[in-house]
C-alpha cells in the first residue's frame, strides 16, 4: 500500500471548518447571533443570508464521539436522569453541555440565541430541543416538515412548509438578525447550492466505476461535510467540491481505488452498499474491518441524510421557499420505508454491488425500526447477500469490535461463496 | 414499649430479628439466619422464627407486631409488610447511625438507596433482570473454583494482579473462570477481578443516586470483605470525596431489623388510633 497523502480538498475542508469555529468563538464579541439547528432539513442558506451562525448539535455529538469523549458525556447525561435506552446523540450533547460545552477546538461554543427546530425525519429532534429549551431558555421556532408517508411530496405538504417558512421561521430569524432576508442574495445562494450539489453527485456516482475511486461511506462521510453543515450556498463549498471533483477524476484516470487510512486500497474484492450511519467512537477500527478485507462501499444511504440529490433534486433559485420545502422533505430520513427500499435496490443495481450491509444503530429509531424488513426485501429483490450488524453512533458501550468483526468476516465469506456459485 | 419481629425472606436466605423497642431505645434481642438451599420457604421461615424466639427467650404470642419484608408478603400470619428498601434503610440507620445510604447485595438483586436521618428513602436504584454480579453469581464462581463462600473475601484481598473481567454471565461464568484457571491466573486474582467488575456496577448505582457521607453495605454480600474493599477502591477512584463505605457484622440482618423497627412504629400508631377512637365513643 502506498502511504496516505493529504489531499488538497481535505485541507480545504479543514480550513473551512476551523474558520467556522473561530467565528463561533468570536460570536459574542462580534455581536453575531447563534442558531442551533439540525442537519436533516437545515436552512443554512437562510441563516447565512441573515448573518446568523449555525451550530449543529448532531455534529458536535459526532465529533465528540470521534474524539472519544462521548463515553463520559453519556454518563453525565444518564446521571442527570436520562435513560440508557434513548438516542445517544441527545445524551452526548446534554453531557457536553453539562461539561462546559467545549467544542472540538477546545473553546466553549456560544449559547444559542434561537433554536431552529426544523423537524425532518426524526421525532427525537423535538425532544432534544425541548430539553435544550429548558437549559437555555431562548426562543424556539418550529418548522414541522411532514413525512413522505405515501412516498411523495404533495402540494398541501409543500404549501404547509412554505407557509411556515414565510409566516413563522423567517420572521423569527429576521427578528433575531435585526434585518430582512435579502431575496436576491438568497437566489444567488441557492444557485451556488445547486452547483456544489452537481459536483457532489458526480463524486458519489464515480463509485460506479470499477475499481471505485472512492469509498462512498467511510470516505463519503467526509465528502458530505461541507454541504450538510454550514457551507451550502457558499463559494467555499462550490470550490471545495470542484477541488474534490478534480482529485477524484485524477484517481479515475490513474485507475486508483479509494484512499484508506493506510493508503490506497490495492484490490477491490467486494463492492458493498451500506444502509445506516457509521459508528463514530471506533470509526477507524470499523473502517479497517472493511478495507482490511478489500471491501469498498460503493453507495450508502447515510450520505443522503442531509440532502438527497442523486434523484435529480437541486435547489432551485426561482422558487426559494418551495425549493427549501422540497429539500427539507426530501432528505433520506424523511422517506417512507418502501421508498427507502426502492432507493437501496436501485443503488445495489446501479453500482453493481456484490451485496449490501445494514449497520443498525441502537440510538436511531428513525433509521433502525424496520431495517430487518428492508434486509429481507432487498435480499428477495436483488438476490444478493445481505448482512446485518449492530452498533451505536457514539456510545462506546455498544461497539463490540470482536462481535462485529466476526459477523463481517462471516458476511464477506458468504458473499464470496455466493459469488463463486453464480 | 413493643416487642416485634422482623422477617426478611430473601431468595437465598431467611433472616429474622427480634427487637425490644421503647421510646428511647431500640434493642436487638435476637437474630437468626437460615439459608434456604432448595427447601420449602415457609418451613424455613417457621424454623427461623422459632429459633430466634428461643434465643430471645420469648413466646410467639408475646410479639406485638410481626413485620415482614422482602418476599415475606406471602406469610399469612404477618401483621404488616414493608418493602425492602424501606427496611434496609432503617436497618442501616440502626446499625450505623451516621449512614445515609445503603447498598444491599443479595442473592439475585442489588439495590442502592439513599435516605435521610429519619430513614426515609430519598432515591434508589436497582439492578434488574440479569443475575450477573449478584450473590448467586459469586456463589457459582466459588463453586467452580472449589472454594467455600467464606474463603472468597480473604482470598480476594490477597490478590496481586487482578484479572480484568467485564460483564460475565452468571451461568456461563463457569467457562470463563475455568479458562482463567487454565491460563494460570491465580484464584485470588480471579476473585478480585470479579469483585472489581461487580464494584464497578455498584459504584454506578451509587453514583446514580448521588450518595454522600457514609454508605453501609447490607445484605449477604456485605460479609464479603473482598467485595467491600473493591467497592471502596472504586468509590475512591471515582473521586468520591466525602463518601465512605462501612460494613457491620450484622449487615445481613439490616432488612429484618428495619422491618422490626417499623413494625414497632406502626404498632405505636395503631395503638394511638385505637385509643383515639375509644376516646370518642
Amino acid at each position: 500500500m502506498t502511504t496516505a497523502v493529504k489531499d488538497l480538498s481535505q485541507d480545504r475542508q479543514k480550513q473551512m471548518i476551523s474558520a467556522h469555529y473561530a467565528k463561533l468563538a468570536r460570536a459574542r464579541e462580534d455581536g453575531r447571533k447563534v442558531v442551533y439547528t439540525f442537519v436533516p432539513g437545515n436552512l443554512t442558506e437562510l441563516l447565512n443570508n441573515l448573518g446568523l451562525l449555525p451550530v449543529l448539535p448532531e455534529i458536535n455529538a459526532l465529533q465528540s464521539g470521534m474524539r472519544g469523549k462521548t463515553g463520559d458525556y453519556i454518563h453525565i447525561a444518564e446521571k442527570a436522569g436520562h435513560s440508557e435506552d434513548v438516542c445517544t446523540y441527545v445524551k452526548a450533547d446534554i453531557g457536553m453541555l453539562k461539561s462546559g460545552n467545549v467544542g472540538p477546538t477546545g473553546e466553549p461554543l456560544p449559547k444559542p440565541d434561537l433554536l431552529l427546530l426544523s423537524y425532518t425525519g426524526c421525532f427525537t429532534f423535538l425532544k432534544w430541543f425541548e430539553l435544550l429549551k429548558r437549559e437555555y431558555d431562548c426562543p424556539v421556532v418550529m418548522l414541522h416538515v411532514p413525512y413522505q408517508g405515501d412516498g411523495r411530496i404533495t402540494e398541501p405538504m409543500r404549501k404547509y412548509v412554505a407557509d411556515q417558512l414565510r409566516d413563522e421561521v423567517i420572521p423569527a430569524l429576521e427578528k433575531l438578525a435585526g434585518r430582512k432576508v435579502d431575496y436576491d442574495l438568497l437566489r444567488e445562494q441557492l444557485k451556488l447550492s445547486a452547483l456544489a450539489e452537481n459536483d457532489l453527485v458526480w463524486v458519489l456516482e464515480s463509485a460506479k466505476h470499477r475499481p471505485s475511486p472512492i469509498d462512498a461511506y467511510f470516505g463519503g462521510v467526509y465528502y458530505i461535510g461541507p454541504i450538510f453543515t454550514s457551507f451550502r450556498g457558499t463559494t467555499d463549498a462550490v470550490e471545495y467540491y470542484q477541488l474534490l471533483h478534480g482529485e477524484i477524476q485524477q484517481r479515475l484516470d490513474d485507475g486508483l481505488g479509494p484512499v484508506t487510512p493506510e493508503g490506497t486500497l490495492q484490490e477491490e474484492k467486494y463492492r458493498i452498499v451500506v444502509e445506516g450511519p457509521p459508528n463514530w467512537t471506533s470509526f477507524r477500527e470499523f473502517w479497517r474491518m472493511f478495507y482490511g478485507e478489500g471491501a469498498v462501499v460503493v453507495a450508502s444511504s447515510y450520505t443522503k441524510v442531509g440532502g438527497l440529490y442523486d434523484r435529480g433534486f437541486r435547489h432551485d433559485p426561482s422558487r426559494p421557499l418551495e425549493t427549501l420545502a422540497d429539500y427539507c422533505m426530501g432528505c433520506y430520513t424523511n422517506l417512507s420505508l418502501p421508498d427507502r427500499i426502492n432507493l437501496l435496490e436501485k443503488y445495489i443495481n446501479d453500482y453493481a454491488a456484490d451485496g449490501f450491509l445494514i449497520n443498525s444503530v441502537k440510538s436511531c429509531n428513525s433509521f433502525s425500526a424496520g431495517q430487518l424488513l428492508i434486509l429481507r426485501e432487498l435480499e428477495k429483490r436483488t438476490g444478493r447477500s445481505g448482512g446485518f450488524i449492530e452498533s451505536d453512533l457514539v456510545d462506546p458501550r455498544y461497539f463490540s469490535a470482536a462481535n462485529i468483526k466476526n459477523r463481517l468476516e462471516s458476511y464477506f465469506q458468504m458473499v464470496e461463496a455466493k459469488r463463486a456459485r453464480s | 414499649m413493643a416487642i416485634t419481629a422482623g422477617i426478611d425472606v430473601g431468595s437465598g436466605a431467611v433472616k429474622v430479628a427480634v427487637m425490644n423497642i421503647d421510646d428511647c431505645r431500640e434493642t436487638l434481642s435476637a437474630h437468626y439466619l437460615e439459608r434456604i438451599r432448595r427447601r420449602d420457604v415457609m418451613e424455613v421461615v417457621e424454623e427461623s422464627l422459632a429459633a430466634a424466639l428461643r434465643d430471645a427467650g420469648l413466646r410467639r404470642d408475646q410479639l406485638d407486631y410481626i413485620a415482614t419484608t422482602g418476599d415475606g408478603d406471602v406469610i399469612p400470619w404477618r401483621t404488616g409488610h414493608f418493602y425492602g428498601m424501606t427496611t434496609h434503610s432503617r436497618g442501616a440507620l440502626y446499625l450505623v447511625p451516621e449512614s445515609r445510604a445503603a447498598v444491599d447485595i443479595g442473592a439475585l438483586h442489588t439495590r442502592a438507596m439513599r435516605f435521610d436521618p429519619s430513614g426515609r428513602v430519598l432515591q434508589y436504584q436497582m439492578t434488574s433482570q440479569c443475575a450477573s454480579g449478584s450473590g448467586q453469581f459469586l456463589e457459582n464462581i466459588s463453586r467452580y473454583l472449589g472454594i467455600s463462600i467464606d474463603e472468597i473475601g480473604p482470598l480476594s484481598l490477597s490478590a496481586t494482579d487482578p484479572e480484568k473481567c467485564s460483564s460475565i454471565c452468571a451461568v456461563l461464568a463457569e467457562t470463563d473462570v475455568i479458562n482463567m484457571v487454565s491460563r494460570g491466573i491465580s484464584t485470588p486474582n480471579i476473585l478480585r477481578g470479579i469483585h472489581n467488575s461487580m464494584a464497578l456496577r455498584v459504584a454506578g448505582l451509587l453514583r446514580a443516586i448521588k450518595v454522600e457521607g457514609t454508605i453501609l453495605l447490607t445484605g449477604g454480600l456485605a460479609r464479603d470483605t473482598g467485595l467491600s474493599a473493591a467497592i471502596a477502591d472504586k468509590l475512591k477512584e471515582g473521586g468520591g470525596a466525602g463518601v465512605s463505605l462501612a460494613t457491620h457484622e450484622l449487615s445481613v440482618q439490616a432488612g429484618a431489623i428495619g422491618a422490626a423497627i417499623w413494625g414497632a412504629f406502626r404498632h405505636g400508631k395503631l395503638a394511638k388510633q385505637q385509643e383515639a377512637t375509644r376516646g370518642i365513643t
Binding site: - | 443475575a131 472449589g146 467455600s148
Partner: protein, 439 residues
C-alpha cells in the same frame, strides 16, 4: 490414507471429524472444551484418529479369520476396554493432583482425614468405572469430568455421612484439581492403549487373541496422513492455524447441515453457550444468519443449569418435561432468575413436569426469535447442536415451528453435534483439492 480434518472448537465441547479423499466421514472425536482450547483441539483430534483406526479395525476384524462370528461383540468389548484404560489414566492423574494439593496449607488441620477419604473415594470411582465399561451400568456422559465427577460426588457424600470430612470440602478438592487434569494429555500411544485394552477383553481364546493382536498391530501402524485441517467454532481464533484454514462457524454449520441433509434450507444450532440460526441455499452456502450474545438464557447451558438446580442429570430433563400436562409461561428471561422462578412455582404447588416443560418452551421461543431474525423457517429445517439430544426441546420446537410456519420436515441427526466439524473437514478437503488444482 489421506485425512482431512475439521475441528469445531465449541464453547462447551470440541469436536473433530476426519473425512477421507471421497468426503466420507471416517472418524469423530469429542471432548470437553471447558479448559484449554489447544489441548481440547488436540484431544478431539487424537480421538478422531483413534476413532478412525477403530473404524479400520472393525472392517479388518470382519474379514479376519479366527475371530469369526463374535467379531462385533469383540470390537465392542475392545472399545470399552480402550475407554476404560483412558479413564483410568486420567483418574490416576486426578488422584496425583489431589494428593499434591493435600500437601498445601489449606489442609494442615485435616490432611490425614482428607487423604484417607480420597483413597476411599478413588476406590469407589474405580469400581464404578469397571461396572460402566464392563457394560453393567449406563454412562451418564462421554466426558471424564462428568463421569468421574458424578461418581466422586456420590462417594464423597457417603464418606461425609459416615463421619469423614465435610462434603463441601471434599467437593472443593475435586473442583480445584479437575481443571489441570483436563489440560493434560494421555501419554501412552494408541498401540500401547490398544494392547492394554486387549488384555481387558476376557471372553477370547488364546488363538483368537493371537489373530486379533496381529490385526491390531497392523491397524495401529497404518499410515493416517493429515493432509490439511480447518478450524472453526467459538474459539477458532485460538487455533494455531493459518488464516485461510480458519472458517467462520456459521459457514461450517451451514455446509455441515447441507451435507447431512442436502434439502436443508434453515439450520438451528443450539449449543452449550450459543445459538445460531442460519439460512442456506441449495448448495449449502449461507445466505443469512443470526447469533445470540453471551447470555446463557436461550442456549443449552440454560437447561444444564436447571438440571443442576434440580439435582438431576441433563439427560433426565427432557423425559421429565415430556410428562407435562399444562402449559406454563416462564416469566424470567435470565437463567438464574428462571431457576428461582422454578422454585417459586414448585412452592406454589405447580407440577414439576409442567414447569420444566415451560422452561423447554422458553428456550425454544428464544430460538424462534433468532430464527425469525435470520429470515424465518424454510423447509427443510435442520436442528443441530447438543440440545437436539433433548426430546422435549425437539418436541417443543416441532410444535412451535408447525404452529407458525406450517408443516415442515424437521431433520435431526445423531451426528448433529458434529455438524460444524463436518463442514470444516469438508472445507479442508475442498481447499486441498483447489490448492492442488491451482499448483
Amino acid at each position: 490414507m489421506d485425512c482431512f480434518v475439521g475441528i469445531d472448537l465449541g464453547s462447551t465441547t470440541t469436536k473433530a471429524v476426519i473425512v477421507d479423499a471421497n468426503g466420507r466421514i471416517v472418524g469423530r472425536g469429542i471432548t470437553n472444551s471447558r479448559s484449554n482450547y489447544d489441548v481440547a483441539a488436540q484431544v478431539a483430534r487424537n480421538e478422531a484418529f483413534t476413532n478412525a483406526r477403530f473404524d479400520m479395525l472393525g472392517q479388518a476384524l470382519r474379514h479376519e479369520a479366527g475371530i469369526g462370528e463374535s467379531g462385533a461383540a469383540f470390537e465392542l468389548a475392545l472399545t470399552a476396554g480402550y475407554r476404560h484404560e483412558c479413564f483410568l489414566g486420567q483418574l490416576a492423574r486426578l488422584e496425583d493432583h489431589c494428593r499434591r494439593d493435600l500437601d498445601s496449607d489449606r489442609y494442615t488441620g485435616d490432611r490425614r482425614a482428607m487423604g484417607h477419604a480420597l483413597e476411599v473415594i478413588m476406590d469407589g470411582i474405580r469400581k464404578d468405572a469397571a461396572a460402566v465399561y464392563g457394560g453393567g451400568a449406563a454412562a451418564r456422559s462421554d466426558f471424564f469430568r462428568d463421569l468421574a465427577g458424578a461418581s466422586y460426588i456420590e462417594h464423597a457424600a457417603h464418606v461425609a455421612r459416615e463421619g469423614g470430612p465435610a462434603f463441601d470440602r471434599l467437593v472443593g478438592l475435586f473442583d480445584r484439581n479437575i481443571i489441570p487434569v483436563e489440560n493434560e494429555q494421555e501419554t501412552r500411544t494408541f498401540a500401547q492403549l490398544l494392547m492394554a485394552a486387549l488384555d481387558r477383553v476376557s471372553d477370547v481364546s488364546p488363538a483368537q487373541r493371537n489373530a486379533a493382536s496381529g490385526v491390531l498391530r497392523r491397524v495401529a501402524a497404518a499410515d493416517l496422513r493429515e493432509v490439511s485441517a480447518v478450524g472453526t467454532g467459538y474459539g477458532r481464533v485460538r487455533l494455531p492455524f493459518p488464516k485461510e484454514n480458519i472458517r467462520s462457524e456459521i459457514l461450517c454449520h451451514g455446509l455441515g447441515a447441507h451435507l447431512l441433509f442436502p434439502g436443508t434450507r434453515t439450520v438451528l444450532d443450539i449449543g452449550g453457550q450459543d445459538t445460531k440460526a442460519i439460512q442456506v441455499d441449495e448448495n449449502g452456502v449461507v445466505t443469512s444468519f443470526q447469533m445470540n450474545d453471551r447470555c446463557a438464557a436461550g442456549c443449552g447451558r440454560y437447561l444444564g443449569y436447571i438440571a443442576d438446580e434440580m439435582n438431576i442429570g441433563l439427560h433426565e430433563l427432557g423425559p421429565l418435561a415430556l410428562g407435562a400436562r399444562r402449559r406454563i409461561k416462564i416469566n424470567s428471561t435470565c437463567t438464574v432468575f428462571a431457576g428461582a422462578e422454578f422454585r417459586d412455582r414448585l412452592a406454589a404447588g405447580q407440577a414439576r413436569e409442567d414447569i420444566v416443560a415451560g422452561l423447554h418452551r422458553a428456550i425454544i421461543l428464544r430460538a424462534m426469535s433468532l430464527l425469525a431474525r435470520s429470515g424465518g423457517i424454510r423447509n427443510e429445517f435442520t436442528f443441530t447442536g447438543g440440545v437436539g439430544r433433548n426430546a422435549a426441546a425437539v418436541k417443543a420446537l416441532a410444535e412451535v415451528a408447525q404452529d407458525n410456519y406450517g408443516s415442515l420436515t424437521i431433520n435431526i441427526a445423531t451426528d448433529s453435534i458434529y455438524t460444524g466439524a463436518i463442514g470444516a473437514a469438508t472445507f479442508a478437503l475442498r481447499g486441498a483439492v483447489q490448492g492442488a488444482a491451482r499448483n
